[in-house]
Every structure is written in C-alpha cells, then in structure tokens.
C-alpha cells in the first residue's frame, strides 16, 4: 500500500473543513437550482409560444450561455461587474448569479422539450372527451410535462455540483480550495498527500451526486 498521506486529514479539523467546503458547493448549487427552475419554466413556456422575436432572443441567450465556458462567465460577473458598474459581489454571490443564469438557460430548453414532446393527439383526445382547455392542461398536459421534467432537472443539479469546482478561481473557499490548502500546508510533512486528499474529495463529490443521480433514474423509470 503506497503512502497516500491520508493522515493529514486527521490533523486539526481538516476533515470538518473539507465537509464544510462540500457544503458551500452544495449550497451554491441548490440555491441556483431553486432560482433556475421558476425562471426556466417561464422562459421555456415562452419558447413554445408564437412570438418570433422573443423566441429568437431566448434562443440567442441559450446558445450564448451554452457556448461560453462557465469559468469565463464567472470571471465576467466577478471581475467585470466591479469595473463596469462599480459593484463588487462576493465570490459566492457571483457564483449563484452565473449558475442561475446557466441553470435557467438549460432549464428553459428542458421545459421547451418536455412541452413539445406531448403529442397533439393528447390534447385532442382529452378535448374529445369533453374536458375544457383548463382541465386538459391540469389533468393531462402538466402532469405529463412534469414527469418528463423532474428527472432531467435533477440531473441538472448534479451537473451544477460538479461545476462548482471552478469557483475556487474567484476566491470561494469550497471543497477544492480547502483540499488545496490542506495539501499546501502539509507539503513538508506529507509530500504525497495530494493523491490521498483529492481521492477523498472525489469520494465526497461522488457521495453527494450519486444519490441524486439514483433518484433521477428511479423517477425516470417510475414515470416512464
């Protein structure tokens, strides 16, 4: 067994600091998802509408956010907003802003996809049974849309959690940053700690994302 330098985690409150870092990552993701879902539902519904100008603008927004690397967006908001507007958001606020913009864009596309995937015949057979427009949406269309949407939006959460590993670049002390600090601080006493510590980080990310991913899979199967 090679020396993984795992003993550094037992020094001081290192393991607790790592967990606190993980919590920062999770907190940012969850707040961003909570913001993304309502915005995404509104934008996605608008994307299925008839207003061509609005649809074009939303499409550009979606593509812009998708093409831009998240790190560039983080830098624009964190460093750029000070220069442009004289407003200095903290790293965590910047991260929430960027992740919400990103999540809302992705979510809008998921909502649009879910809505247009309901075949026209579902509306027709519902109306043929005498259901009103409102009843058709309430009993037939919305439940089917949500069933397609929920597993997909849960997957979006795991993608966000993974992407929070970038925000150490704008000075947020999350799990990756804490790991770096632990390794740096123990460079002399445990020069091989990098592998072990990052391995633990990997496991923690895995433990956070795996149950979420399982839940998504379970719901997908249940509501197929």
């Amino acid at each position: 067994m090679p020396d993984l330098g795992l003993e550094v985690l037992l020094k001081g409150s290192n393991i607790m600091r790592l967990l606190a870092g993980l919590w920062v990552a999770l907190r940012i993701s969850l707040i961003s998802v909570a913001g993304s879902i309502p915005i995404g539902i509104i934008l996605g519904t608008l994307m299925t509408g008839r207003n061509i100008v609005l649809k074009a603008i939303l499409k550009i927004y979606l593509e812009f956010i998708r093409i831009m690397p998240q790190l560039v967006l983080l830098f624009i908001v964190f460093f750029g907003s000070t220069r442009m507007f004289g407003w200095q958001p903290t790293g965590e606020v910047s991260a929430v802003i960027v992740f919400t913009l990103w999540g809302a864009a992705e979510m809008s596309d998921l909502v649009r996809g879910a809505l247009i995937s309901i075949p026209l015949h579902q509306y027709e057979s519902s109306e043929a049974l005498g259901l009103s427009k409102t009843q058709t949406y309430w009993y037939i269309i919305i439940p089917q849309t949500l069933r397609r949407l929920i597993p997909l939006s849960i997957n979006l959460i795991t993608r966000m959690i993974k992407t929070t590993s970038l925000i150490l670049m704008i000075g947020v002390v999350e799990i990756m940053k804490v790991a770096q600090q632990i390794i740096e601080a123990n460079r002399r006493s445990s020069p091989t700690a990098a592998f072990g510590v990052y391995l633990v980080v990997f496991l923690l990310y895995f433990l956070a994302c795996w149950p979420i991913s399982l839940l998504a899979k379970y719901l997908e199967r249940k509501w197929r």
Partner: protein
C-alpha cells in the same frame, strides 16, 4: 325510431387552399351503423374529426340532434360529452392507469359519482376481457388491449354516438380481431356508430349502410350488399378491386 342523431349538411372543409371535403351530406339515425370507406387522403378521417369539431369547417352545418357542432362554440365541451371518439393510435393518457383513464371524464366533466362510474367501468372492462388490467398502465398493454380500453373510455361517457377513426389500422393483424369483435358486439346492442375502416369484410358484417368517399365527396352509398358486392360507379369498383387477389 326514425330520429336522426347526426345530421351533416353541405359540409365544406378546406385546408391551405385544398378542398378536403366538398358538399358532404350525411344523416345517421339512432341505432344505425354507418361505415365509411375510401382511399387514403380522401377525407374520411377529416369528416370524423369535423363531426367532433377537432377541425374547423368553411361552410355547412353539423348537428347532433338539435345542437349545432362548431369549433370554438361555448357549449362545445357539453356536446362532445355525447360524442365518443376512438382514435387510430388509441391516445390513452400514459400517466394514468386504465381505470383512471376511463374515470377521468365521467367524474371530472360529467361530475358523476366516482363509485358508480367505477362499477360501470369494471363491468365494461369485463365485457371486453380486460377486468384484470384495470390497474395497469397503458404501456403495459398490447395495441389491441389499449384500443379496447379506449373504446371502454368512450362508452363510459354514455355517448349518443360513437366515432371510430381507423381504429385497427395501427394494430398487428392478430389483434385486429379482438377489437372488431368488441365493435360487432356494440352494433348488436344497437349503438349508433360511424366507423372509418379499411377492413372490408368487417364493413360487410357490421354496417347498415356503407359510404364510399373519394376526393372529398360521397361517391356512392348503400347497403353493404349494394355497395360492396355490386358497386355502381367505376371509381368504387376500382377501389374495391384493390382488396381482391387473383392469381
């Protein structure tokens, strides 16, 4: 018993400049089974969809008893309760079980007692041989089973008239029979039905009257014997010949 349930007068339907139905006149009496045949694209499915106001029409009137059926009309939902429609692709609601599919409209639209409708639904399911499938989801059923559920769903609204739009066209051959048998049984119960189909032998067996539609017009109509065995027009003969094989 000479009461007209359904009356279609001078119906004209255009779509993007093309005439789909042209001066179609049709009346269906209580208890009558009318079968509509014709080549694909002739407008026969569109006619059924017009009767249920799923398509808007350019001129003419469609009446169910005394009430005019019109897309966008205020009482449309009320009239549609009296028209049961079964589609080619079943169109069950995939997120609801079989029994929920059946109960939805009677309970939510007609505001009937859930318990009472359930009893009726179970009886009907039993008649079509699907009592044990009440709690299944549509995806767990075969095509023929889904179509039988769709028929029960339409029946549970106690409609005045049933419309069948090529209900066996999407089925595997061995499942066609089970669906047609249910429809034959309904004909024996003197249900009023308008059936669009490509099954000529079935048409022969079930119909009181057969209509041949081509290019948006009713070309010929008569009893099954008259129309299917001794067609008068050249066009009808040609069409029926498609179903004949000789070596």
């Amino acid at each position: 018993m000479e009461e007209n349930i359904l009356t279609v007068e001078h119906l004209r339907k255009e779509y993007e400049g093309n005439v789909i139905l042209d001066d179609v006149n049709l009346s269906v009496k209580r208890g009558e089974v009318v079968v509509i045949i014709g080549p694909s694209g002739c407008g026969k499915s569109t006619l059924l969809r017009c009767i249920n106001a799923l398509e808007n029409i350019q001129s003419g009137t469609i009446r169910l008893q005394d009430e005019v059926i019109e897309a966008g009309a205020k009482n449309l939902a009320k009239i549609r309760e009296k028209i049961g429609m079964v589609f080619q692709n079943y169109e069950l609601f995939p997120h609801l079980t079989v029994i929920e599919n059946i109960l939805l409209a009677p309970v939510k639209v007609q505001k009937r007692e859930k318990k009472e409708v359930r009893e009726e639904a179970v009886k009907l399911l039993e008649r079509v041989g699907l009592k044990d499938k009440a709690e299944s989801y549509p995806r767990q059923l075969s095509g023929g089973q889904k179509q039988r559920v769709a028929i029960v769903r339409a029946l549970c609204m106690n409609p005045e008239i049933l419309l069948f739009d090529e209900v066996t066209a999407a089925l595997d051959p061995e499942m066609v029979r089970e669906v047609l048998d249910v429809m034959l049984e309904l004909a024996r119960q003197k249900r009023t039905m308008v059936i669009v189909t490509h099954e000529m032998q079935f048409a022969q067996a079930v119909a009181d009257r057969v209509l041949f539609i081509d290019e948006g017009k009713i070309m010929e109509q008569g009893t099954p014997e008259e129309l299917l065995q001794h067609p008068k027009t050249e066009r009808t003969k040609q069409f029926l010949n498609i179903f004949h094989y000789e070596k």
